[in-house]
C-alpha cells in the first residue's frame, strides 16, 4: 500500500545510481551528507587514533599554539584540543541522537493518538502544545539544568533535559499529517474491510508517513544539538566533559582572545559550525524531498 510501488516498476538505472543522481539535483541534501560523513569519519578515525584521556585536563602541556604535535593546540588546563574535538563530537552526536530519537518518538506517539483518536485527548494535547509554544524552550531548560546539582549533570542527563521540552514540534507536524492521511481513500477501504485501528496505523498510515518522521528526526537532532550547545555555552553543561560548548565557555571565561590564545575558542566553534551547518542542510534537503510542492524541476 505504499506509494513507492509504482516507481519501483519503472526503475531502469540501479538504485544507487538514482540516489546519486537525485543528490546531484538536491544540492543541500548532498552537501549536508558529505559534511556529515566527513565529521563521522573524523570522529571514528580520531577515536581509534587518539587517547580519549587527552581530552581531559592535565594531559598535555598548557597553552601551546597549534603545531605538528598538537594540530589544534592545547588549552589553559592542559587539554589536547584535537582529542577534545574528537571526544566532544562523539558526545555531541550522542546527545543529538538520544534526544532527537526520544523527542521524535514521543512526537510520533502523541501526534498519532491526537489525530487518529481525536476527541478530548486531541484537545488536551493541542492545548498543552499551544500553551508551551510561546515559552522559549531554551530558557526553561536553563531553569532545569540550573536546578540540578552540578555533579549530577552528565552527557545523559543533558540529553534528557533537552528532550523534556522538545516534543511539541514533531507532535504538531505528525498530527497534521495524520489528519490529512486519515481522510484518504485507502484508509477508508482498509477500515471498511475490517482492519483494526492498530493495523491501519502501522500498516497503512505509518509507512506513508516515514519521510515526515525522518525529517522530524533530523530536525529534532538539530534542535537537540543546538540546545545542548547553548546550555553548555552558558556554563550549564557537564563541566568536566569536553563538550564543544563547554570549551568555548571556558575559553571565554579565561579571556582567551585577550591573552592571545586564539586557537582555544576557534577550534570548537568551527567544529560546531560544521555540525549544525550539515544538519541544517540535510534538514532543508529532506524538506524538499518530502514536500513535492517545493521540489525543484530537473
Amino acid at each position: 500500500m505504499t506509494i513507492t510501488a509504482t516507481s519501483d516498476q519503472m526503475q531502469s538505472p540501479s538504485r544507487i545510481r538514482r540516489v546519486f543522481r537525485y543528490l546531484r539535483r538536491n544540492k543541500s541534501l548532498g552537501f549536508g551528507l558529505i559534511i556529515l560523513l566527513a565529521l563521522v569519519l573524523f570522529t571514528l578515525v580520531g577515536l581509534m587514533v587518539i587517547d580519549p584521556k587527552d581530552a581531559y585536563p592535565l594531559s598535555a602541556p598548557t597553552r601551546r599554539a597549534p603545531s605538528w604535535a598538537y594540530p589544534f593546540g592545547t588549552d589553559f588546563f592542559g587539554r589536547d584540543l584535537l582529542a577534545v574535538m574528537v571526544v566532544g563530537m562523539w558526545q555531541t552526536a550522542f546527545i543529538g541522537v538520544v534526544a532527537g530519537g526520544v523527542g521524535t518518538f514521543i512526537g510520533v506517539v502523541l501526534g498519532f493518538t491526537s489525530a487518529y483518536f481525536g476527541g478530548w485527548i486531541d484537545s488536551v494535547i493541542r492545548v498543552v502544545c499551544q500553551i508551551l509554544t510561546p515559552i522559549p524552550v531554551l530558557l526553561i531548560q536553563v531553569v532545569v539544568a540550573g536546578s540540578l546539582d552540578k555533579r549530577d549533570v552528565t552527557i545523559f542527563t543533558m540529553a534528557l533535559i533537552v528532550v523534556m521540552l522538545a516534543w511539541m514540534a514533531p507532535t504538531l507536524v505528525i498530527r497534521s499529517q495524520v489528519l490529512t492521511m486519515k481522510e484518504r481513500s485507502f484508509v477508508s477501504v482498509a477500515k471498511l474491510s475490517g482492519v483494526s485501528d492498530m493495523g491501519i496505523i502501522f500498516k497503512e498510515i505509518l509507512p506513508n508517513l516515514m519521510p515526515f518522521v525522518a525529517a522530524a528526526f533530523v530536525g529534532q537532532i538539530f534542535l537537540a544539538v543546538f540546545a545542548s550547545f547553548y546550555l553548555a555555552v552558558l556554563g550549564l553543561g557537564p563541566l568536566r566533559e569536553p563538550l564543544l560548548g563547554n570549551i568555548i565557555w571556558l575559553a571565554q571565561a579565561q579571556g582567551a582572545f585577550f591573552n592571545g590564545w586564539w586557537w582555544w575558542p576557534v577550534a570548537p566553534s568551527v567544529g560546531m559550525i560544521l555540525i549544525l551547518g550539515s544538519l541544517a542542510l540535510i534538514n532543508m534537503g529532506l524538506d524538499e524531498l518530502s514536500n513535492p510542492r517545493i521540489r525543484k524541476s530537473e
Binding site: 524552550v137 531554551l138 530558557l139 531553569v143 536546578s147 582572545f257 575558542p265 559550525i273 544538519l279
Partner: protein, 333 residues
Amino acid sequence: MATLLLIARRFGFLFVVIWAASTITFFIPRLSSVNPVRERFAELARLGGYNPDDLERIVASFSKQFGLDRPLWDQYVDYLGSVLRLDFGYSLNRYPVTVTELIMQSLPWTIGLLLVSTLIAFLIGNLLGAIAAWPRAPGWARSFSTPFVLFMGVPPVLMGVLLLFFVGFRLKLLPLGGAYSIGLVPEWSWPFAMDLLRHQVLPALALILGSIGSWVLTMRGMGITIQGEDYVNFAEHKGLRGWRIFKDYYLRNALLPQVTGFALALGTVVTSAIIVEGLFALPGVGTVLINAIRANDFPVIYGIVLFITIAIATIMTLMEFLYPLLDPRIKNQ
C-alpha cells in the same frame, strides 16, 4: 462587543501562558535536591573557615525570612502574586539588591542591541529574499543572498567567535569585548559615544549575520508563491512598472506572514542575543544571567528566565493586534 471578546480571549491566553511558565519555574527547582540557600552559603563557607552548626542556623534563618519553611501551597500562591507584580525576590549574591533592580539596570543594553540588530536583519533579509525570488532582477543581485542562507544554521554566538577572531584579534579593527574601553568614564561626549558604538558593532553583526538567512528563505518562498498569482500576471499585462509591482504586490503581500514569523522567532532571537552578550561581556541581561549561573545565584537565574518569558509572551500577544492594521482583509471578526 465581538472585538472586545476577542481581546479578552487573547489576554486570557496570555495569562495562562504566564501562569504555566511561573508554575514551571516554581516547581522544577523545588523538585530538585539542591537547596539554593545552602548551596550559596556552603560556597561562601568553603572560602573561609566555618562551623557546620552555624551554617545550618544561617540557612534556617534565611529560609524563615524568605518564607521557604512554609507549606508549599502558600509559597506557590504568594509566588504567583509576586510574579504578577514583577517582583522576583532578592539576589543571593548581592543581597540587598532585588532581581528586578538587576534586570532593570541591564535591560536597556539588551533592548538596544536587540532592536537595532533585529531591525537591520529583518529589513536586509526581506529585501534580499524578495530580490532573489523576483524573476526580473539581474543574476548577480539574485545570487547575492546565497551566502546568508548558508549562514542560517550557524548560531550567532559562533558567528561572534569567528568575528572576534578575524576582525577583533587578527585585523585589530574592533575591540574584543566589554561595553566601553577600560579607563573611560561614562559621560555624554562624542568620543565616549563613538567608543560605545565601536564596542557594539561586532555583537550586532554576529546577531545580524546569524538571522538574515531565515528571512531571506521565507521571503523568497513567499515571492515564488505570489509570482503565480493571477493578480500579478494581470498587473504585468496592464503594463505596471517593475518597481511598482515589486513594492506593492510582492512586499505588501509578504508583509503579514513575515510579521507572524517575526513573532514566532522572537524567543530564539532573544536567547541568541543573551548568549552573544555573554560572549562579548556587554553589561546586558545575558551577562547578568551567566554571572548568576557561575555564582549559584538561583533567584536571579529564575527571575531572568521568567521575566524574559513574560516579556516575549506579552509582545507576541500585542503583535497579534497589529495584524488587522497590516492586512485589511483581516477584520477581527
